[in-house]
């Protein structure tokens, strides 16, 4: 791989009318790496991916895939990539095999080569024994796997996966993550989007954290976690939350950030509330938190302490949770 990066994105912008969905992002994915775009809903991940798959024209900026510009050489880009769309895109009235046959032809496979590759892909996605079944009768997980299989047919140099694990059971998810790693081991470059930080952490050589159309941090998992340094993350559940409690906590030495979770009920003034804090050393801070809660007559009903992770990085950088669940 003479050192040419698989993907180069340069100051990419995309506007939908007034909405500035992608606000000048740049990144480079070296060949052979797994690169994740991690970000919450609406961050602009799918928009970025659509531009890389030549489905959308950028408003400005450009992207190169295997050295080909998405604007000037879309056909060369399309020949180099396999795309797994976020929404399942299959012909439900055809069988798994008929789907693979058709999509294989669309990427230029024919005859014996096509048949053999379809057999291989059916093995990879674990649908060999269901190949004659109509897709309409498949479970969500089976459809997800076929959705991925289609992108593998022509052994693309770059595979682009948009949240391939949304809405599936843990076992299928495990399967998919393992096959992504396997594909990468065989030499494919993977661009992966997700809003699960565990997936980004497990898979990626590099991660770009995206929020509101921008890349707000980028690097290896370790690089990113460095941003929050040695901070611990403390999640508390309280039975009530008077305003001044957070003000007072903010003043406790060693507390870097106090983030109040959304109330479980919009009108709730005294229902259960969650608060997340980034602190230097939870051992020192926790007793002070309990002390002031007791003074305020507030009960802390649960405490979780986490080592620094991407979620904490996102919190630290945006003041918001990666996923509000």
């Amino acid at each position: 791989m003479n050192g040419q990066p698989a993907i180069q994105v340069r100051d990419l912008h995309k506007r939908f009318g007034d909405l500035h969905a992608v606000k000048g992002i740049s990144f480079t994915v070296p060949a052979g790496q797994i690169f994740s775009l991690l970000g919450p809903n609406g961050a602009g991940k799918s928009t970025t991916i659509s531009i890389l798959s030549c489905l959308l024209q950028p408003t400005s900026g450009d992207a190169l895939v295997m050295g080909h510009s998405v604007q000037r050489e879309p056909m060369a880009v399309k020949a180099a990539i396999g795309v797994v769309p976020q929404e399942i895109a299959l012909y439900e009235d055809l069988s798994a095999r008929e789907n693979l046959d058709f999509w294989g032809k669309m990427v230029g496979l024919r005859g014996a080569a096509l048949r053999q590759r379809v057999d291989e892909v059916l093995e990879i996605i674990g649908l060999a024994d269901r190949q004659k079944g109509r897709v309409a009768k498949f479970s969500g997980g089976m459809k997800r796997r076929l959705n991925i299989g289609i992108a593998l047919l022509h052994r693309p140099q770059v595979i682009i996966m948009d949240e391939p694990t949304v809405g599936i059971d843990p076992q299928t998810r495990r399967n998919i993550l393992d096959s992504v790693k396997e594909l990468n081991r065989q030499g494919m470059t993977v661009l992966y989007t997700t809003h699960y930080m565990e997936e980004a952490q497990e898979l990626s050589d590099q991660i770009a954290i995206m929020d509101q159309g921008r890349i707000i941090a980028q690097g290896t998992h370790q690089d990113l976690v460095q941003i929050v340094g040695e901070l611990d993350r403390v999640d508390l559940t309280l039975n009530a939350l008077p305003d001044w409690v957070t003000d007072r906590w903010q003043q406790i030495p060693g507390v870097q950030k106090v983030i109040v979770g959304a109330p479980s009920h919009p009108q709730a003034t005294d229902g259960e509330r969650t608060v997340t804090l980034l602190v230097d050393d939870s051992n020192l801070v926790l007793p002070r938190l309990f002390e002031s809660a007791t003074q305020a007559g507030v009960r802390i009903t649960s405490v979780t302490i986490q080592e620094p992770n991407l979620e904490a990085v996102f919190l630290h950088l945006t003041g918001r949770a990666l996923r509000d669940e």
């Binding site: 795309v83 009235d93 669309m106």
Partner: protein
């Protein structure tokens, strides 16, 4: 190559679609079949049905001087049905049922007081009651078929008004009840005119359309059914053309079209593949309809060479028009309105000269011109000319018009889709 791969995939999917079979083949054949059996006692007397005694209690009250009940009654009393029906009227429903109970009639037809009202006012429903002697099946069965046809035609007016009202409201132009009623009444009147013509002496219709053939030399029934079958074929072939193009919208919504665009496949191959699939579907549909109707109902399609010309013109036009019509739609929800409304109205307009065949004089010209305002009318005209014994010279202009119109619609539709998918 990819074009053919795409066409093959589209055809495979169509062959698995229930609605393609139902609307492409079953419905047009069944409709013609109903007429075939309804006219069974006429013509060459090949069918000998017993005369069914029918009592009618017409309780219907007219709306704006139009009574669907009266129309249906006249329809049943028409000459055409003399040999299969003997219609008498009674004053009320109870009497009607009693007459059947006493086996003095095989079937009682009870037309409710709100029949016309329900047909012309969107949203209302009326129930026509058929009360039949359980020991008789064939005669009453045919009468029910005739009435069903008739009522379906009228109900079309109600549906049309409902659709128009709902759609206008959705686009911010609510119309009042009086207007929507007026629409339905107008449609009802048109349907009435249609019904009135159907009850005319049937041979008059043939006089006009078969100048080349000596009267009486052919099976009357087969001529009527041939004409109806031609109308049905045109009507449903245009549906198939549009439904086939609609698959582009379906693929757009399912995300498979976007996925195709992530593969190195040019837009032109995708559109061309779809068009090849449409044309093949239409050719198969026409071949099957022509063959089946010739075998089952002795439909006479005219001499083979010009018939192929008319069929080709019709197929191209149906495909082109379907593509163009679909290119105007935003999504498949709008498709429902178009296929249920626009194509139905246009299809009926195209067939208007079948239903008004015996009208002569200046009105004749109006109907002829009217039907030629819609593409379907040209196709119907082609078949009418052929069934009247026309040769290549007689249908040439019609075929050329169809091919030219098809070219215009194809170009416009393809242009619009290319722009949309670019």
């Amino acid at each position: 190559m990819k074009t053919l791969d795409i066409a093959r995939k589209d055809l495979l999917r169509s062959s698995r679609s229930f609605s393609v079979w139902v609307f492409g083949l079953a419905v047009p054949l069944l409709t013609s079949g109903i007429f075939f059996f309804a006219f069974g006692g006429l013509g060459d007397g090949g069918f000998d049905l017993p005369v069914t005694q029918v009592v009618v209690a017409n309780l219907d009250s007219p709306v704006n001087g139009f009574s669907a009940g009266q129309l249906l009654l006249n329809f049943l009393k028409a000459e055409d049905f003399k040999e299969i029906l003997a219609v008498s009227e009674v004053a009320d429903a109870v009497t009607a049922r009693r007459v059947v109970d006493q086996q003095q009639a095989g079937l009682a037809v009870i037309l409710p007081a709100d029949l016309t009202a329900a047909l012309v006012r969107p949203g209302e429903r009326a129930v026509v009651e058929l009360y039949q002697d359980p020991t008789l099946t064939l005669g009453p069965g045919i009468v029910s078929g005739i009435i069903g046809q008739f009522v379906d035609g009228l109900i079309g007016s109600n549906i049309a008004a409902n659709v128009v009202t709902a759609q206008l409201a959705r686009y911010g132009h609510p119309i009042d009840a009086a207007t929507s009623q007026a629409i339905a009444v107008e449609y009802g009147r048109w349907a009435a005119a249609l019904g009135a013509h159907q009850q005319q002496e049937t041979s008059a219709l043939l006089e006009i359309h078969r100048p080349a053939v000596e009267p009486g030399s052919e099976d009357v029934r087969s001529r009527i059914v041939s004409l109806i079958m031609a109308g049905m074929m045109v009507f449903f072939v245009f549906f198939t053309g549009a439904a086939s193009a609609e698959n582009l919208l379906a693929e757009e919504e399912a995300g498979t079209l976007a996925r195709l665009f992530t593969t190195p496949t040019p837009i032109s191959a995708i559109l061309a593949g779809r068009m090849v699939a449409t044309l093949v579907t239409l050719i198969l549909q026409v071949v099957m309809l022509v063959t089946a109707s010739a075998l089952l109902f002795h439909v006479h399609w005219g001499s083979p060479a010009p018939a192929m010309g008319v069929a080709a013109g019709m197929i191209l036009l149906a495909a082109g028009f379907g593509l163009f019509l679909t290119s105007l739609l935003k999504d498949r929800r709008q498709g429902g309105l178009v296929y249920g409304g626009v194509l139905t109205v246009m299809g009926n307009l195209g067939m208007i000269n079948i239903f008004t065949a015996q009208v002569a004089g200046p009105a004749r010209q109006i109907f002829d011109t009217l039907s030629l305002l819609v593409p379907q009318g040209w196709a119907v005209r082609g078949w009418q000319l052929l069934q009247a014994g026309g040769g290549i010279g007689d249908v040439l202009v019609t075929v050329l018009v169809m091919v030219s119109l098809a070219g215009v619609f194809f170009a416009a539709g393809l242009l619009r889709f290319r722009k949309r998918f670019a």
